[in-house]
């Protein structure tokens, strides 16, 4: 009942909460002194609170980058944990300024929900996890399986499509919260746990015996995950978009949180533009000119946020793969700052 109530409140907030969308989000954010950022309810590597309530993760770092750009202070973020189901309503009704919660960029979301995707901070795809003891090696052997997953996600749609197109029977068991999905899978309710591959690696850590489970080789969908804002506020959209691009460009230019101060001496014009030493790029966004310097200094470049949160030295042990820079054969590519 509480969920219904929240949704009703959100709905009526949307109905009555007048022209919130057209108001400048940047002004609101400055007035509040913090970016209100919608994140997950706990997905290691992406957005996860520790026992003191400090949030970390690659999605959280996008929030922090925006705060660093606007305030020169990466800590000026307030987090709103959201289930997959709640996230878009929360953004539409202006409860949050920015949604950075492993959210897949799809056409419906981009067009009919009144939202804009500001880029991709992690290229993902949907995968399957099963018990090793089943002896299964391919997703095509899953005919008749029970599959546990989250409601309100692209996941449930992809898996239905996949089973249908391969003429396989499917029992889909859908929970609202990820923790229940993990528990139900762990207690044997389902043969298969499906979600974004990154999510599988993260959630596997929560199982009783992570080693007894394998992720199958098939990736059945494209899941470009990125930050989302409301339509109708181009300035705020630009700020979020370029905060992400700044981190990717910084990696490409070899600028990291460790060397950003030395790099101020660099003669490379691209580096000088990035760090706000030439041109007035911040001004054009309505924020200080050292915006990108603050991002790299306080949060890091893209390689750093990847390695710190999901990389090979973290429990998730994910390699760069398609998330490498375009110059290294991956998909990460940011338009130039000029």
């Amino acid at each position: 009942m509480k969920k219904v109530l929240i949704s009703v409140l959100m709905g009526s907030a949307m109905a009555v909460g007048a022209s919130a969308a057209s108001a400048a989000t940047l002004d609101d954010v400055k007035a509040k002194g913090a970016v209100q950022c919608g994140v997950s309810q706990g997905l290691p590597g992406f957005s996860n609170p520790d026992d003191q309530g400090n949030w970390t993760g690659i999605d959280v770092d996008v929030c922090r980058a925006v705060a660093a750009a606007v305030f020169g202070d990466a800590k000026a973020v307030k987090y709103t944990p959201l289930s997959a189901k709640e996230r878009f309503t929360a953004l539409q009704s202006s409860e949050i300024d920015l949604l950075s919660r492993n959210t897949t960029w799809t056409m419906t979301r981009d067009t009919s929900l009144g939202l804009n995707f500001a880029g991709v901070n992690y290229y993902d795809g949907q995968g399957f996890m099963v018990r090793k003891s089943l002896g299964i090696t391919s997703a095509l052997e899953l005919d008749g399986a029970s599959v546990c997953t989250n409601t309100g996600t692209t996941t449930e749609l992809n898996v239905t499509d996949y089973f249908r197109s391969h003429n396989m029977q499917l029992e889909l068991v859908q929970f609202e919260k990820s923790d229940e999905v993990v528990q139900a899978y762990d207690s044997g309710r389902c043969d298969v746990y499906t979600t974004d591959a990154s999510g599988l690696y993260a959630q596997r850590l929560k199982l009783t015996n992570p080693d007894e489970h394998v992720v199958l080789p098939e990736i059945i969908s494209k899941e470009p995950l990125g930050p989302v804002v409301r339509q109708g506020d181009d300035q705020w959209f630009n700020i979020v978009k370029w905060s992400l691009f700044a981190m990717i460009n910084a990696e490409e230019l070899g600028v990291s949180s460790a060397n950003v101060d030395e790099m101020k001496e660099s003669t490379n014009p691209a580096v000088r533009r990035l760090l706000g030493l030439e041109g007035a790029f911040g001004e054009a966004l309505g924020i200080p000119n050292d915006w990108a310097y603050q991002i790299v200094k306080q949060v890091g470049n893209y390689a750093e946020i990847f390695d710190n949160n999901v990389g090979p030295d973290t429990p998730l042990k994910i390699s760069r793969g398609v998330n490498a820079l375009w110059s290294n054969g991956g998909f990460q590519y940011a338009p130039p700052i000029r």
Binding site: S22, G144, A145, Q174, R189, G232
Partner: protein
């Protein structure tokens, strides 16, 4: 509406302006209030439509016809992967009704048994009932829901090690699998026989009551009726050449296929709702029984009635008048509480609606559907219970 003034109306209306007539004034005030409310809601709708459009959010009910692309794990109507959002919502609604109806029946039984048990003279029985009531009423329903769901799940075996009964019932952590009857040509006879049986049973009970009033002789109407309802269709079954065959569930691959199945989510939800609401009903029943003067019991005993019949024939019928109104609100609570289903993957209207909301982004429309569904179910329940309440109310002669 204002009461009629004492002095004659003809006199007052000639005296002052009609605004001094309390009746006219009352009507005007009400009209103004209604107009204000209409304007208020109209402007909310307008404002919402305007803002949705400005935010580029789709609106309207057109999405009902679009392909849903997901399948709830329990559907009472047959759905396919290409079914529409409308059909998915209907399936969700039926699932809500199913769990509400079964929950209400079971909770009523548990509640009456426990309410009477708490008043029992047997110390152990009454203390056990008290413990049940006090524990269950004081733990949030959501926790109980998780408890029962995962308690049920964790104690059930994998499909490969299912517990089997007679080789045709199979129980495992995917559900309870049963043979599904297939009605072939000729089975209409059984339906007719069933109808005849029911009519016969009603007839017998009316006749038996009349006879008892007239002659004082008792007749086992209940058992006769039950016999008619069961025996006639069975007879028809054999006479029409056994027109029912069964589709048995069989272990294939991951799980049992075919047959009928009851999913653990349904069991968990029904169990939690029954046990939770049953505790509240037990208290209502106890209060109702205590409200009947003790003299009634003594009088019944004095007439030679034993404890059972006293309770059944004297106390409960009178207690019902006190019990029904609060019982109605428990039924409404149970129905509304069933919306917690989404927590344990039971596909009720809120769960399915939530998925639809998320896939289409049409929050206002889906919330409107939820509100209409719960409002209709609640009003319907109230109407039925009020009707029942009137039919048993004291008739003063």
């Amino acid at each position: 509406m204002a009461a009629k003034p004492h002095h004659s109306t003809g006199q007052t209306s000639t005296k002052g302006s009609i605004f001094n007539d309390p009746k006219v004034r009352g009507i005007i005030y009400q009209l103004v209030l209604v107009a204000g409310l209409v304007y208020f809601f109209w402007s909310i709708v307008q404002n919402a439509a305007h803002n949705l459009e400005k935010q580029n959010i789709a609106s309207g009910f057109g999405f009902i016809e679009n392909t849903a692309g997901f399948l709830p794990n329990q559907t009472l109507i047959s759905l396919s992967a290409t079914s529409t959002y409308g059909q998915a919502l209907l399936a969700g609604l039926l699932n809500t009704l199913l769990v509400a109806v079964i929950g209400i029946i079971l909770a009523t039984i548990v509640g009456f048994v426990m309410g009477v048990a708490r008043l029992s003279n047997n110390w152990v029985v009454s203390k056990l009932a008290t413990m049940y009531i006090e524990i269950v009423r004081n733990i949030p329903l959501l926790l109980q829901l998780f408890f029962w769901y995962f308690a049920v799940l964790r104690n059930l075996p994998n499909p490969k090690d299912s517990s089997n009964l007679f080789g045709v019932f199979h129980l495992n952590n995917r559900g309870l699998f049963m043979p599904r009857p297939i009605f072939e040509a000729g089975s209409e006879a059984m339906l007719v026989a069933l109808a005849v049986g029911i009519v016969g049973a009603i007839g017998v009970s009316i006749w038996a009551r009349k006879r008892q009033v007239k002659t004082g002789q008792r007749f086992p109407a209940f058992w006769t009726g039950l016999g008619l309802i069961i025996l006639l269709p069975v007879l028809a079954y054999f006479l029409s050449g056994r027109p029912i065959s069964y589709d048995y569930a069989e272990l294939k691959g991951f799980n049992y296929k075919g047959g009928m199945k009851v999913i653990p989510e349904f069991v968990g939800l029904t169990l939690a709702l029954t046990i939770y609401t049953g505790a509240f009903i037990a208290e209502i029943v106890r209060a109702g029984i205590l409200a009947v003067n003790h003299g009634q019991t003594e009088a019944a005993h004095a007439l030679g009635l034993r404890n059972g019949p006293t309770l059944r024939l004297v106390i409960i019928p009178q207690a019902m008048r006190v019990i029904i109104p609060p019982l109605t609100s428990q039924y409404l609570n149970l129905t509304k509480n069933s919306s917690l289903a989404v927590a344990i993957a039971y596909p009720d209207i809120v769960s399915v609606g939530g998925t639809v909301l998320n896939q289409t982004g049409q929050a206002i429309e889906v919330i409107a559907v939820w509100m209409i569904v719960y409002l209709s179910i609640s009003l319907l329940t109230s109407i039925l219970m009020n009707w029942y309440n009137r039919s048993i109310a004291l008739v003063e002669r």
